[in-house]
């Protein structure tokens, strides 16, 4: 039997690996991939929570939580991730066509600062 905490530990480790990639990488496409990894880690913890139903064991059974809510959240997160990736990669292509650069710390990109 796998306890719920092992799923949550796996999810948090994957989330922090993704966060590390977003903080250290310079290629915007790789940064998008790391954002996808973070979203997937959160999705995994959503599914684990909604499968194990820890509120029943921890004494919160008075809260009316339906069974499938976590899975519905995962579906919506997938939708938002797909839209975000389409727009973000469009932005990367537009910047690359205009300035021929594919790194985020390029000097010519500092004109984007507000």
């Amino acid at each position: 039997m796998i306890p719920l905490s092992h799923y949550l530990i796996l999810s948090s480790v994957l989330f922090f690996i993704g966060l590390l990639g977003v903080l250290t990488k310079r290629n915007p496409v790789i940064m998008f991939m790391c954002i996808e990894m973070m979203l997937n880690a959160v999705n995994l913890s959503f599914v684990a929570f909604t499968r194990y139903k820890p509120w029943e064991s921890l004494g919160f059974s008075m809260i009316p939580i339906e069974q499938d809510n976590g899975q519905i959240f995962v579906l919506f997160i997938m939708t938002v991730a797909a839209a975000e990736v389409a727009v973000g990669l469009g932005l990367v292509m537009a910047i690359f066509r205009k300035k021929q650069i594919v790194t985020t710390d390029d000097q010519t990109l500092t004109s984007l600062k507000g």
């Binding site: 796998i2 306890p3 719920l4 905490s5 092992h6 799923y7 949550l8 530990i9 796996l10 948090s12 480790v13 994957l14 922090f16 690996i17 590390l20 990639g21 903080l23 250290t24 990488k25 310079r26 290629n27 496409v29 790789i30 991939m33 996808e36 990894m37 997937n40 995994l44 599914v47 684990a48 499968r51 194990y52 139903k53 820890p54 029943e56 921890l58 069974q67 499938d68 809510n69 899975q71 519905i72 579906l75 919506f76 997938m78 939708t79 991730a81 797909a82 839209a83 975000e84 990736v85 389409a86 727009v87 990669l89 469009g90 990367v92 292509m93 066509r97 594919v102 790194t103 710390d105």
Partner: protein
């Protein structure tokens, strides 16, 4: 150790290793392929949690659509530019962020472990089947569902506007 536990622990090892190799590879195409492996392992973890519908959706949406988009953009970007997956220079901010992240990870694990250790899988008859998921999605969550369709339309229009060549 039964079949399900062996499946889970080997899958989590593969998931962490492939996530680390997304960061470690110098070639962006290799990182994208490691991300494909990572998304497949997440889908099989969903199968292990009996969320079959979500696992199939994960394979179709992420591996089938989003990763193809990533690989298209990687091929469209100029392949003659070398080393475009380099990390930033070794500086104080990077070292500090890695240290803070490892610290946060340890704090998270130590705080999750005592609360959620004794919770095991319960019997569930109709978890994750398309019937229950569809009934919930189209009854209680019908308004967010419609808003999500508007969001996808905005995404399509926005990406076409961004990617269009100015004539």
């Amino acid at each position: 150790m039964n079949y399900s536990e062996m499946f889970f622990y080997s899958l989590s090892g593969i998931a962490i290793l492939s996530a680390a190799s997304v960061l470690a590879c110098n070639n962006p195409v290799k990182s994208a392929l490691s991300l494909v492996v990572h998304l497949f392992t997440i889908a099989f973890l969903y199968f292990n949690l009996e969320a079959y519908m979500l696992g199939v959706t994960q394979i179709m949406v992420y591996v089938g659509a989003i990763m193809v988009l990533f690989l298209f953009v990687l091929m469209l970007l100029d392949p003659t530019i070398k080393q475009i997956n380099k990390t930033s220079a070794f500086c104080f901010q990077n070292v500090a962020s890695v240290a803070i992240l490892v610290f946060l990870c340890i704090i998270t694990i130590l705080s999750l472990e005592p609360i959620f250790y004794d919770i095991y899988l319960k019997e569930s008859q109709d978890f994750g089947t398309p019937q229950t998921l569809g009934l919930t999605l189209f009854s209680k969550y019908i308004i967010p569902f419609e808003i999500a369709s508007v969001l996808l339309l905005v995404g399509v229009v926005g990406s076409i506007l961004l990617a269009r060549r100015k004539s």
